[in-house]
C-alpha cells in the first residue's frame, strides 16, 4: 500500500515538473525556442564523440550504434507516430515500408546503377505509393482489424522478398552502393562528414540527423495545420469527425502515405550504409519494437516518441553484458510500463486527458463497467 502511494506521488511530481517545463516552453518567445532548437542540433552533431560513447556504450562502437539501431529507430518511430500517434491508426506492419525503401535502394542501386540521391527521392515516392496501395482497401477497417491486416501485409512483403529469386531470395542483395561523396576533404570536428566510405559511420549519422531534422520540421508543421487537426479528430472519434465534415478516409490515407514515406526514406538511407540486406532484416519484431517505442515514449508527442525510440534502441546495447537476457528484460519492461504508466514516458497533455477519459487509443477494453462520467462515450463506441 505504502509503496503504491509513494510511486503514485512520484509520478505526480514528475507530471507536475513536466507541466511546468511545458508551460514555460509555451510562453517562451520565438528567439528562445530557436536557441533551444539550435542547441539540440549542435548536441546531435556532437553526440558521436568518444567521451560520450565511452559511457553510453562501452562494449560497442558508439557512432555505429548511433546510426543503427538508435538513429534508425528514432526516425522510424517518428514516421510510425504519424500513423499511430496522430491519426490513431494501429499499424503492426510498419517494417514493410522500411523494407520497400531498403529494397528500392538495393535494387535501383545495384541493377540500375542509380545515384543515392535520386533513389532517395524515387524511394520515398514508391513508399508513399505502397502506403496508398495498402491503405486504399484496408483503411475502411477499424482498430484491431486494421492492426492485423497491416501485420499480414508486413509478412507478405517479407515472404515475397524471400521467395522471389530475382530480388535475391533468402540471401538478399549485397554490394549496395554508398552515397556519392559530396566533398572529399570537408571536415567538421575532425570528421570528413561528406565522404561516405565503408569504415566511418559518422558521415552516415550526420546524414541521418539531417533527414531527422527535415522530417521533424515537416511532421511538426503538419501536426499544427488543418491536417493535424483532422488527424486528432479522427483519432478521438472517427464518426464525429466524419459528421463534422472531415473527409476521414482521405486523411487516413494521407497519414499512411506520410508514415510510409518516412519509413521508406529511412530504409533507403539504411540500405545505402549497410552494403547488404536480406529479408530477415525486416522481421515482425522490428515493427513491434518500433510500435513499443512509440507507445512507450508517449504516443502522439514527438519528443516523447523520440525518447521512447532512444530508450528501446539504446538499453539493449548499453547492457550488452546481459547478452541473451536483453529481450527477456525488454518484454518484461514493456508489460511493467503499460501497467504503471500506460500513457508513456512523456505524453502530450491532450493525450493525458484522453487517457483520463479512458479513450487513449482505440477505446477501452470491454468487460469493464464504466463510471457514470464515461457512460456516453461507452455507448458511442458501440
Amino acid at each position: 500500500m505504502n509503496k503504491k502511494t509513494s510511486s503514485a506521488g512520484f509520478r505526480h511530481q514528475l507530471g507536475h515538473f513536466g507541466d511546468v517545463v511545458h508551460d514555460r516552453w509555451l510562453r517562451a518567445p520565438g528567439w528562445q525556442r530557436w536557441i533551444v532548437y539550435l542547441l539540440l542540433i549542435v548536441f546531435a552533431l556532437l553526440l558521436p564523440s568518444e567521451s560520450i560513447g565511452s559511457f553510453m556504450s562501452p562494449d560497442t562502437d558508439w557512432a555505429t550504434i548511433l546510426f543503427f539501431p538508435i538513429g534508425t529507430y528514432v526516425v522510424l518511430a517518428i514516421g510510425l507516430n504519424v500513423v499511430v500517434g496522430q491519426a490513431g491508426l494501429l499499424d503492426l506492419g510498419f517494417v514493410a515500408f522500411y523494407a520497400v525503401g531498403g529494397y528500392a535502394m538495393a535494387l535501383l542501386g545495384t541493377k540500375m546503377g542509380w545515384d543515392f540521391w535520386v533513389i532517395l527521392v524515387v524511394g520515398i515516392g514508391i513508399c508513399a505509393l505502397s502506403g496508398i496501395t495498402l491503405g486504399a482497401p484496408t483503411l475502411r477497417l477499424r482498430g484491431d482489424y486494421l492492426a492485423i491486416v497491416t501485420l499480414g501485409f508486413g509478412e507478405i512483403i517479407r515472404i515475397t522478398a524471400r521467395n522471389t529469386d530475382s530480388i535475391g531470395g533468402p540471401t538478399g542483395i549485397s554490394g549496395i552502393p554508398h552515397p556519392p561523396n559530396l566533398s572529399d576533404d570537408f571536415e567538421l570536428f575532425g570528421v570528413k562528414i561528406f565522404k561516405y566510405g565503408v569504415l566511418d559511420p559518422r558521415p552516415y549519422y550526420y546524414l541521418l540527423v539531417a533527414l531527422a531534422v527535415i522530417v521533424i520540421i515537416l511532421v511538426k508543421r503538419w501536426e499544427k495545420s488543418r491536417v493535424g487537426r483532422a488527424w486528432a479528430a479522427i483519432r478521438e472519434d472517427e464518426d464525429a469527425a466524419e459528421v463534422m465534415g472531415v473527409p476521414t478516409f482521405r486523411f487516413k490515407m494521407l497519414a499512411f502515405a506520410i508514415g510510409a514515406s518516412i519509413g521508406g526514406a529511412m530504409g533507403v538511407l539504411w540500405a545505402a550504409k549497410s552494403v547488404s540486406l536480406n529479408p530477415n532484416d525486416f522481421q515482425f519484431l522490428l515493427s513491434a519494437t518500433i510500435l513499443a517505442a512509440v507507445v512507450m515514449g508517449g504516443s502522439g508527442n514527438l519528443p516523447g516518441v523520440m525518447l521512447g525510440a532512444f530508450v528501446v534502441a539504446w538499453l539493449p546495447e548499453r547492457f550488452r553484458e546481459l547478452k541473451d537476457y536483453r529481450m527477456l528484460i525488454f518484454g518484461a519492461v514493456l508489460v511493467a510500463l503499460m501497467i504503471f504508466r500506460p500513457e508513456g514516458l512523456l505524453p502530450s497533455r491532450q493525450r493525458k486527458a484522453e487517457f483520463k477519459e479512458g479513450s487513449g487509443g482505440m477505446g477501452t477494453l470491454g468487460a469493464e463497467v464504466p463510471g457514470p462520467e464515461s457512460h456516453g462515450e461507452e455507448v458511442a463506441s458501440r
Binding site: 499511430v84 494501429l90 482497401p137 484496408t138 475502411r140 477497417l141 482498430g143 484491431d144 482489424y145 492492426a147 492485423i148 491486416v149 501485420l151 499480414g152 501485409f153 509478412e155 507478405i156 515472404i159 515475397t160 524471400r162 521467395n163 515482425f284 519484431l285 513491434a288 510500435l291 513499443a292 507507445v295 512507450m296 504516443s299 541473451d324 537476457y325 529481450m327 527477456l328 525488454f330 518484454g331 518484461a332 519492461v333 514493456l334 508489460v335 510500463l337 503499460m338 501497467i339 500506460p342 487517457f355 479512458g358 479513450s359 487513449g360 487509443g361 482505440m362 477505446g363 477501452t364 477494453l365 470491454g366 468487460a367 469493464e368 463497467v369 464504466p370 464515461s374 458501440r382
Partner: protein, 322 residues
C-alpha cells in the same frame, strides 16, 4: 498445374483438415477473449507454444524412445493432452493476472493492452529459449534449436480415400479437435459459466447487475481459451513431432486469421474459419507452390476483411458491432 491439383487434392484436403483443426482450436482462444474483452490477446500464440512444450514434457519425463501400442499409447496421448492443457491454461491465467488485469483495473486503452501483450509475448518466448528449454528439457545452449519428439505411434494407414492413405495421427488430430469443439460449444451454451461468458460479452454492465462476477468470467475465458490452445499444442506435437520456442508466432497469426475469417467472437465461426483456412492454404500451395502458403493465408485475411469484415458466420458472442 491442374492435373497436379487433381492428383494432390485428397492428400491436401486431409492435411488441410488436420492443420485447420489446430488453427481452429487456437482460434477459439482469440475469439473468446475478443468476445469478452474486445482485445486481441497477442500473447495467445505463446500460450499455444507452451502447450506444445507441456505435452512434450510427458514423453520426456517418461523417457519414451520407441513406438507404443494399445493402452500405453492411448494413456500417453491423453496425458500429453492434459499436460498441454494444464501448461497452456496456467499460462493464460497468469497472463491475464499479470499483463491484462492491472490494465483493465485502470481502464487503460486497448492500445496499451496490445503493447502489454506484445511485451508478454516476447518475454515468454525468451523465457523458454533461455530458461525452460535448456533447464527443464536438459538442452543447455540449445534453447533456440528445434526440439523433436520421438515417434510415439506407428503411422499406419487407417483407411484410404480415392487411393490416398489417411494416417492414424491425422485422424486422431481431427477427431480430438472436433470433440473439443463440441464440448466447448456445450460448455458455452448450456452451463452457468457459459451463460456468464455470453452475458459479459453482450453487455458487461447488465451482466454485473444480474450478479455475474466479471473478474471470474474473464478468468474462466482465459482458462478455457488457454486449455483449447493446449490441446492444439499437444495435437500438433503428436502429429508433426517437433516444436521450438518461436513456433507460436505463425500459428498465432494464422489462428487469428481463422478467427476473423469465421467471424470473431463466434465460436462455431472459429471452427469453420480454421478448417476453411487450412484447406484453402493447402489447395493454394498446390497451385502456386508451398513457399507461398503463408502469403495465401494473409491474402485471404485481407480479402475477407475487405468484403465481409464480420466473417463467414458473423460476430455472435456479443451483438454485431459497426
Amino acid at each position: 498445374m491442374f492435373s497436379d491439383f487433381i492428383n494432390q487434392f485428397w492428400p491436401a484436403s486431409i492435411d488441410g483438415l488436420a492443420f485447420g483443426s489446430i488453427y481452429a482450436l487456437i482460434a477459439l482462444g482469440y475469439t473468446m477473449v475478443y468476445g469478452v474483452l474486445r482485445l486481441i490477446n497477442f500473447a495467445h500464440s505463446e500460450v499455444f507454444m507452451i502447450g506444445t512444450f507441456g505435452a512434450m514434457f510427458v514423453p520426456f519425463t517418461l523417457g519414451i524412445d520407441s513406438t507404443l501400442t494399445g493402452i500405453a499409447l492411448v494413456g500417453v496421448i491423453l496425458a500429453m493432452i492434459v499436460a498441454g492443457m494444464l501448461a497452456s491454461a496456467g499460462t493464460a491465467i497468469a497472463l491475464e493476472q499479470v499483463a491484462y488485469k492491472p490494465l483493465r483495473k485502470r481502464g487503460a486503452s486497448r492500445l496499451a493492452a496490445l503493447i502489454s501483450a506484445i511485451g508478454a509475448s516476447i518475454f515468454l518466448q525468451e523465457l523458454f529459449a533461455l530458461v525452460v528449454i535448456p533447464g527443464v528439457f536438459d538442452r543447455p545452449e540449445r534453447g533456440r534449436i528445434q526440439m523433436g519428439l520421438p515417434r510415439l505411434m506407428e503411422r499406419s494407414e487407417l483407411f484410404s480415400i480415392a487411393g490416398h492413405p489417411v494416417r492414424v495421427d491425422q485422424v486422431v488430430v481431427i477427431i480430438a479437435a472436433i470433440g473439443m469443439m463440441i464440448a466447448l460449444d456445450a460448455l458455452v451454451n448450456r452451463t452457468k459459466i457459459g451463460r456468464g461468458i455470453r452475458a459479459t460479452a453482450q453487455n458487461p454492465e447488465a451482466a454485473t447487475l444480474m450478479g455475474v462476477d466479471i473478474n471470474n468470467i474473464v478468468r474462466m475465458t482465459f482458462l478455457i481459451g488457454g486449455a483449447m490452445a493446449g490441446v492444439a499444442g499437444a495435437l500438433y506435437l503428436i502429429s508433426y513431432e517437433n516444436t521450438n520456442y518461436y513456433i507460436g508466432f505463425l500459428f498465432g497469426i494464422k489462428a487469428f486469421t481463422a478467427a476473423v475469417l469465421g467471424g470473431i467472437g463466434n465460436l462455431r465461426g472459429a471452427l469453420v474459419g480454421g478448417i476453411v483456412l487450412g484447406l484453402v492454404e493447402n489447395y493454394g500451395a498446390i497451385l502456386v507452390g508451398s513457399d507461398w502458403k503463408h502469403v495465401i493465408s494473409f491474402t485471404i485475411l485481407i480479402l475477407v476483411l475487405m468484403f465481409r469484415p464480420t466473417g463467414i458466420l458473423g460476430e455472435s458472442l456479443q451483438q454485431a458491432r459497426a
